[in-house]
């Protein structure tokens, strides 16, 4: 059994991400300055860089939680141009093909773990309760939390909550998964549970974009390492090559700071 749905791997052509010339500003404050990134289907991209570099904002442009001021977004066969209105149906279609995991989990606190995973399937994909629950149990088991199905998130540890959140995102059978600092709110030991689920997901061939400070994970799991600083991508390429011999002085400075901790 794999984490991604079976249909994903064989029948449906897997789709990547192409972001071109993305710019975003809040008033006078520039957040993203003409940033472009292409992600091949089935690959893992790690986004690293100092805070304030624009990593999270850039990630959130992929599923349009942030609307860029300029640039083109092509995600899983959908194209979004800035300035043009996006109708609700297109937006929903795009979002259901892109799963997202947040730093603060954002599980629905008034629903059990099972309901958290099943409810979106019923509302977004129109699955019956039985169908949705069956898929949810499958995914909860896969993230090692079958026994937590009946518990509310408040009764689960941070690591468990994050794994439930991953199951919730996967339940909509996305072809792309976005992770916004998924382990930053967790202590290191608990973070490992989450990282191991993410490693399995990557091994299954899920297209992933991960904003992270976990250098070990970025080095071992990602196919492409992208370094952002000052609202731009300053360097990208093979993670091991960049980490051992960064081309940019800014990257060197950042890596030294992170690795010294």
């Amino acid at each position: 059994m794999t984490l991604s749905p079976p249909a994903d791997s064989k029948l449906v052509p897997r789709l990547g991400i192409k972001l071109d010339n993305i710019s975003k500003r809040y008033g006078d404050h520039v957040v993203l300055d003409d940033v472009s990134l292409h992600v091949e289907p089935g690959t893992v991209t790690a986004l690293i860089g100092p805070s304030g570099a624009g990593k999270s904002t850039f990630l959130r442009c992929i599923n349009l939680l942030e609307r860029p001021d300029a640039g083109t977004i092509r995600v899983a066969g959908h194209t979004i141009e800035p300035g043009k209105a996006v109708n609700g149906r297109d937006l929903a279609a795009l979002r259901s093909t892109v799963g997202m995991v947040f730093q603060s989990f954002n599980l629905f606190p008034h629903m059990t773990a099972l309901k958290n995973v099943s409810f979106p399937q019923q509302r977004v994909l129109g699955r019956s309760k039985e169908e949705a629950d069956a898929r949810s149990m499958q995914l909860l088991e896969r993230v090692g939390l079958k026994e937590k199905a009946g518990q509310h998130p408040g009764r689960c540890s941070g690591g468990q909550q994050q794994r439930i959140a991953i199951a919730r995102a996967l339940a909509l059978d996305p072809s792309i998964m976005l992770f916004d600092e998924p382990t930053s709110a967790l202590d290191p030991e608990v973070g490992l549970e989450v990282l191991s689920v993410m490693r399995e997901l990557a091994a299954d061939g899920m297209t992933m974009v991960v904003v992270t400070h976990e250098m070990q994970f970025a080095r071992d799991v990602s196919d492409t390492l992208v370094v952002m600083a000052d609202c731009k991508i300053i360097e990208q390429g093979d993670p091991k090559a960049i980490m051992s011999d960064p081309a940019e002085a800014r990257t060197r400075r950042f890596l030294r700071a992170v690795l010294e901790r």
Partner: protein, 214 residues
């Protein structure tokens, strides 16, 4: 007739007035709260103006305006109707403000998660936002209900024969020390009515906290 039965004679009207105004309030406040949180600026301003206007004037003034101002029309010879409408409209304004606060207190991340999942607007609002907002506001609603129960006594000023009105007329008929009795009794009855609401609210709140564990 002794003081106790005199006070009790007003009990049905006190309870009825309170519940009727509360019913108007909790339902009427829903659209108003949505208006207050609307991104459509003119609508939001209109709702804000209404809320501030209603809350800015003492209830007793509204009741007098309703009773004597519209005496020619709808509320002629109907002080109970005027009191229900007056207290109801005031409740709409106060509860709308409570609801709005509750809607705003739901963490932003909850909406982001719902958006990222592609949940339809209706599901996002009714299944994600409202249940959490309700948990946040339910103690305030209970507090408001207890306040409204006591404020319903203001209706006595426009000749609604609720408990305070009955106490006053008893006192007027017994201009001795006995005249103080109905006021002591009515105070005890108000407390007896408020306590269950307060306890129910605390119990509900504790129960919701226990289930959700926040």
């Amino acid at each position: 007739m002794n003081a106790f039965t005199a006070v009790l004679e007003g009990l049905p009207l006190t309870v009825g007035l309170t519940l009727a105004a509360f019913a108007i309030g909790i339902s009427g406040a829903v659209p108003l709260a949505l208006g207050l949180s609307s991104p459509v600026v003119p609508l939001q301003l209109a709702c804000r103006l209404f809320v501030d206007l209603v809350r800015g004037v003492p209830i007793i003034v509204w009741l007098f305006l309703l009773k004597f101002g519209i005496q020619i029309g709808t509320f002629k010879f109907n002080p109970v109707g005027a009191a229900i409408v007056g207290l109801g409209v005031v409740s709409v304004a106060y509860l709308a403000e409570i609801y709005r606060g509750g809607l705003q207190a739901v963490p932003r991340g909850q909406l982001e998660a719902a958006h990222a999942l592609g949940l339809p607007r209706g599901s996002t609002f009714f299944r994600v936002v409202v249940p959490q907002a309700f948990r946040i506001v339910s103690p305030s609603i209970a507090t408001y209900l207890v306040g409204l129960l006591k404020d319903s006594s203001i209706a006595s000023t426009i000749i609604v024969a609720e408990m305070v009105f009955q106490s006053q007329s008893f006192a007027r008929q017994h201009p001795t020390v006995e005249g103080i009795l109905p006021y002591v009794i009515v105070g005890v009855v108000y407390i007896a009515l408020s306590l269950p609401v307060a306890y129910l609210s605390r119990w509900l709140d504790a129960r919701m906290r226990k289930v959700v564990h926040v």
